[in-house]
């Protein structure tokens, strides 16, 4: 399984990806993933992938990996295709699609967070999408691991809360739920969007001090669902099992394809 060396996804990070949870033969939040990949393609000026080709690629990857009856992560990669030297894209561009499947991580774990030194850039549209230019996220995660944590929490360049290296951020103050606004440099997560729509979440600009007075802090993404954050830089965070169960129930009701 190889791709040409002149693929712009490789040479310049010029492309997008999606990570979709598969449970048995079902693809969870499939339409939402496809819609985000298409929105991202428009935002980045890439060709738009065809939904039926995406579905065929995802199902084929699951079968080839022998994972079609297990809990799996299907990754779709959509690149700007082959191109010549330099930044300028070829005209016309022909996108390149491929999909791979792997076992999915457990969903019921907890996360120890570490504050990253790298910050997210709200002044780039790429901060909202899962682009192939993801090295900042890689470095933030590595920094968190080196500090004995599981995941990195990133602020934006103004010092406001944004999201984790590979997850969105929510916090509770009693019954009230909050998450950073997308224009804070936040990934436009499909699980984030579902929870915002169903749980009455306020999208806000907020500083890290908000997490100190929070009654619970959560991470969300397609593979982990809702994960409880139990500490930040080794200081314990408050927890709320009732709220956790409420959010997990919302995610458990996610539509499947």
């Amino acid at each position: 399984m190889t791709i040409p060396m002149d693929d712009r996804g490789l040479t310049l990070g010029d492309g997008l990806f999606e990570t979709v949870l598969a449970v048995g033969r079902d693809l969870v939040l499939w339409n939402e993933h496809v819609a985000r990949l298409q929105r991202g393609s428009v935002a980045l000026g890439l060709p738009t992938p065809a939904p039926d080709e995406l579905l065929t690629a995802a199902r084929t990857a699951l079968e080839e990996a022998g994972l079609k009856d297990a809990r799996a992560a299907v990754r779709l990669t959509w690149t700007a295709g082959s191109g010549g030297r330099g930044l300028d894209r070829p005209a016309p561009m022909t996108g390149r699609l491929y999909a791979v499947a792997a076992p999915a991580p457990e969903s019921d774990q907890m996360a120890r967070l570490a504050m990253a030194t790298i910050r997210r850039n709200p002044a780039s549209p790429t901060s909202r999408f899962k682009t192939l230019s993801y090295v900042d996220n890689v470095l933030a995660r590595a920094e968190a691991r080196a500090a004995g944590a599981d995941e990195a929490l990133l602020l934006n360049t103004s010092g406001e809360l944004a999201c984790a290296a590979a997850a969105n951020l929510f916090w509770a103050e009693g019954e009230a739920l909050y998450t950073p606004r997308l224009d804070c440099g936040v990934l436009d997560g499909v699980v984030r969007d579902m929870i915002v729509g169903q749980a009455g979440v306020a999208e806000v600009r907020a500083w890290p001090a908000c997490l100190e007075r929070a009654t619970a802090v959560y991470l969300t993404n397609s593979l982990i669902g809702v994960r409880e954050a139990v500490s930040l830089d080794a200081r314990p965070l408050s927890r709320d099992g009732v709220m956790l169960a409420r959010l997990r129930a919302i995610v458990a009701g996610a539509p499947r394809c």
Copy 2:
């Protein structure tokens, strides 16, 4: 010429590249390119590439492309190698190196600049290096082309001057030369470094208004050498042919390997 689909350079932009000018059989500023690639590898936590392997790869690429007696661009790509699902790097990492050569662009052209809407992120170490996560540069260039310009000028998230999508920025006020400081989110360019060292350049924090009172504005990189910027957002910039000749003479004296 292919690479494995699980290469982290492709999946996450986890790697670095160098673009080296070859004139005849000579590699211009070779040691400086190797040193930057090694500094970048340390900064990103990647394995460090061996200089002799880099040189062999570059010379082989030139020969394979049939460009060994022409003016050529040799691109070295150094990735974090193959890895599994997710952001976490494998332990140990085995870097993957490849090189390709192509004809180099002309060096004596002029550039029409357009101010980009995307801004550079000084709060990421990746802003100083040529990483495989380069989609912001791709998008800024595309935006400039759409505006009828040749190259994008980028500010950082604080609104200070940084650099172009694929070049560093200098400006003159009479005999005095200026360039943005590296901690403004600026690529640590090898030609930039040479000019700063030899032309008595002040490295400063500066606002875009500085370019309005400049007596000349220049772009530099390994392939173009020194290029005169003649306009910004379609407004003419002042020009100074004597200063241009002085800077080009410095670059013409660059060491070769």
